[in-house]
Symmetry: C2
């Protein structure tokens, strides 16, 4: 996965007032579920504040953090646009305020709000790219590299949220123990700093160049 220190994310979208006005305002508390695997929604969501995580569970019980949705992101668009049921479960990582947009059919959205439809298509393109990069990384890279990229990526999504070792591990396919060990090592190298349970990245560039360095030694 290609990560950068760029705080801006291509999938962010700022609603115009007209579109905003047709959404229904709702909120959920941290830990609650927005939608579950197998459900149909009849629409999609837009996050006004907070952080959502899309999680899937493998048969053996291991969980994967597939995607993260922050402020000004849509969510549940994949299942909405495809007309399929949701393929994973969406949980609130913090308290979340969001808008629900009800549409019986994606074509209705395309007709009335083509710019939103086009944005969602681009978002899918980006999500697919990220997913395939992660797929490639999972075989081609060591855990330590994946952990480094995961913490940069996740901190970029939300710099203030304290990601747990478990969540970081679920994102890059590692156990909490392995994540802990990696962080201990990186702290000794002065590349990160543990602050309570939070992780502070001292210098993204240095951290990344350390990661590249490790990649080339195979």
């Amino acid at each position: 996965m290609k990560v950068s220190q760029n705080t801006q994310d291509i999938n962010c979208f700022y609603l115009n007032d007209e579109f905003k006005s047709i959404g229904t305002l709702r909120s959920i508390k941290k830990g609650q579920t927005l939608y579950s695997k197998g459900e149909a929604q009849g629409g999609f969501f837009y996050i006004l504040s907070g952080l959502m995580g899309l999680v899937d569970i493998a048969p053996n019980g291991s969980e994967s953090l597939l995607r993260v949705f922050g402020q000004n992101y849509f969510t549940a668009y994949r299942s909405f646009l495809s007309g399929e049921v949701c393929n994973a479960t969406s949980t609130a990582l913090t308290d979340v305020n969001y808008l629900f947009f009800e549409f019986s059919d994606p074509l209705e959205l395309l007709k009335k709000y083509p710019s939103v439809y086009v944005h969602l298509t681009k978002t899918l393109c980006h999500d697919l790219k990220i997913a395939e990069e992660r797929l490639n990384d999972l075989t081609g890279k060591r855990v330590i590299n994946r952990i480094i990229e995961a913490i940069i990526f996740l901190k970029n999504k939300d710099p203030h949220y304290i990601w747990t070792r478990r969540e970081i591990g679920e994102f890059c396919s590692a156990t909490t123990e392995t994540v802990t060990r990696a962080f201990s090592k990186l702290e000794k190298l002065n590349l990160i700093k543990k602050d309570g349970r939070d992780i502070l990245i001292i210098d993204v560039e240095k951290l990344l160049s350390y990661s590249y360095e490790l990649e080339s030694q195979v």
Copy 2:
């Protein structure tokens, strides 16, 4: 990844004569490259006959077979719709005849041929679902399970193409040796049959239930 013995794939699309007429007919030979990582195409492709594979290479040299495109599939739509460069390299697995559709901008496609645009959006949805299922499988499942699902999935894409152990391995993140060992084991169990270098699946249902059986023993 959820696999089935269903030969029909949701991403297949049959062109109407009008749209077909604006495509440029081309062909490439087995082993040649349709487009490379980092290139921009200024359009997208449709496969009339043959089989294409989308491959990415990790820093350490290991290759991943990300997606497979068969007859009546579009390809290169992700980069086209997002306006980004290609994120991987597309190689012909067999001789391929295809159409090239030139569009300077995805919005032009949306305006003139909305049904194609909508189809491509749905295709992205499906691709993303598959990619995320594979991501989840990669941590949650054993190699043997992934190999079983890979061979069913790939044989479903093209029942006549003889997938090499290498390609199967690149698809599900395993080495050729591991794929070989898995097939030897499955042949002893009478679940598949080696026919020259080809693999014949004797009974998909039995093979899948064997896979589920293994999953539940953890």
